[in-house]
Subunit: 318 residues, 2 copies
């Protein structure tokens, strides 16, 4: 550990915003310093409570996250927000717009907000998000809100990081509850019916509750439905109470440590995968050589399976 990395880690521990920002950039760019910092900070992590927030575009997730953040700030808890949009590998525009709404917190040092939308050549958004959450944990944030759009595999991977997952729905977004895929129903620990002042909220809530009643209980927990109108800050306290209840339930059931092991299994796989790909492709092969091989395969001059065997052999892995 270099002296400068030591200093840097020290500043992060103290919650220094610039030091945190620099470290996140280092994580996003896969700079070696990022790992050095995270390795040093790791023993102090594990104190933050991670809340994942997912739901379709337009359900009002960002406003809801904003309200929750304010709620926790009033309790003197330092808050970190990570907004991830894996569905936008091409553009970070939508997220940028969302974040403008968060400027109400701009002068509050107890809150740290970061958007992430882009993926590198070798992917790995879930891994980056996990590292950023660890960093914020080490920086003293006690609640970390990870917001993500939709429920693709990347989102499911991101949600797996969370201690508690909120699924945000709204009336009128898909008339029938049946249209809600099994996947999203099974990852939710708490369901939020946002924009609950809209027409059809009553009927939607009934259908949703009926549907949740049919699902098997997980470790004695039945996910509640909380109605909110985030734009008017209605239901925020009730939502926070539902999250607290879930947290207490799982901590008493000793399920949290079990979930932690499962989560670390997944994370170790992701880290390993990233490290292998960086070594074999990033350093060993390079993007140009890869493109040349892809050209051979596209022209059917070589088959992809033999090409992969060749690359592995070149890396000494035959």
């Amino acid at each position: 550990m270099t002296v400068s990395a030591n200093n840097w880690a020290e500043k992060i521990r103290a919650g220094d915003v610039r030091a945190i920002s620099r470290a996140i950039t280092a994580i996003e760019n896969h700079q070696p310093e990022a790992e050095e910092i995270l390795r040093q900070l790791f023993p102090e992590t594990g104190q933050a409570y991670l809340i994942g927030i997912t739901g379709s575009p337009g359900t009002g997730k960002s406003t809801l996250v904003d309200r929750l953040a304010s709620h926790y700030r009033k309790q003197q808890l330092a808050v970190g927000i990570v907004a991830v949009d894996p569905s936008s590998p091409f553009s970070g525009g939508a997220i940028l717009g969302d974040r403008i709404r968060m400027q109400g917190h701009a002068t509050d040092n107890g809150i740290f907000i970061r958007s992430m939308a882009t993926r590198g050549f070798l992917g790995g958004l879930a891994r980056t998000t996990a590292d950023v959450a660890l960093l914020l944990d080490a920086a003293g944030k006690r609640v970390i809100l990870v917001e993500t759009v939709g429920v693709g595999q990347d989102e499911v991977d991101i949600v797996k990081l969370a201690d508690c997952t909120l699924v945000v729905l709204m009336p009128g977004l898909g008339d029938e509850v049946q249209a809600i895929k099994a996947g999203i129903m099974e990852i939710g620990d708490v369901f939020v019916l946002n924009k609950a002042d809209r027409e059809g909220a009553e009927r939607f809530e009934q259908q949703l509750t009926a549907m949740l009643a049919l699902a098997p209980e997980r470790d004695g927990w039945r996910p509640p439905v909380v109605r909110t109108v985030a734009t008017e800050n209605r239901g925020t306290a009730e939502l926070a109470a539902a999250i607290d209840k879930f947290r207490a339930h799982f901590e008493s059931a000793e399920r949290r440590s079990e979930k932690n092991v499962e989560r670390w299994k997944q994370r170790l796989l992701e880290l390993l995968q990233a490290r292998l790909m960086e070594r074999v492709v990033g350093e060993g092969l390079g993007e140009q050589a890869l493109a040349a091989l892809a050209n051979e395969v596209a022209g059917r001059r070589k088959d992809p399976y033999s090409v992969v065997s060749e690359i592995l052999a070149r890396a000494g892995l035959k």
Copy 2:
């Protein structure tokens, strides 16, 4: 190549349904025979046209796929359908329900349908889908319809396989076009406004068209909006015509081969990643040893970065 694999490949070439089914199962289970078969069939692939269909749950994708399949069958083209639901790692129920609607094709040998919803311990749904598409290509299918839900990263990866991507939308699903994320707008080659007999279709189409007009043209192509009512088979011929137009446009622009190289670059990375993980984790480490290490990390007795370095060293990759 063994004699039996030779026979198997021969049957697949002839379009034998049982041989194809067995091969897909082998692909899904990562059996070594799958690669042997694909390696042998590879030189004959590249003749099928891959159409990706994506959109939110409830937009009527499955019915639309059904209609398109019937349309191509009337032109005597053999059709393959792959329905992928990466948002349901926990349950394949919804997909099963969808597929029941497809039973109208059950007696038609020129059509092959397969649903895929589960992921293995090491993931890789996009890679499996790509291999299945290759197999159907070798089996003589000339149009392959790959249907997927939503637009998470896995879906984007799956969509990247397609020669032409349809984005299915419907009126009333999210009132404002603005709610449609940049990501989904940028992957669509043709936009389908399904359930176009519903209220608000006119307004929605106008907004959509206005939004598309603002986006930059890609290689001289501006994605059209086609209105359909799939349940009544309205608009199917118009949709097929739009797909044909796109195909002709890109084949004349020689963009198809360029896109192919890009696609193979991605696929080589995925294959390589899967192969590395199978070797280092699947064979070298095992799930139990991984769980034990995760336990150490969760208890903060080791840090994840050092654990990954250890695993790599053990695999001879230090």
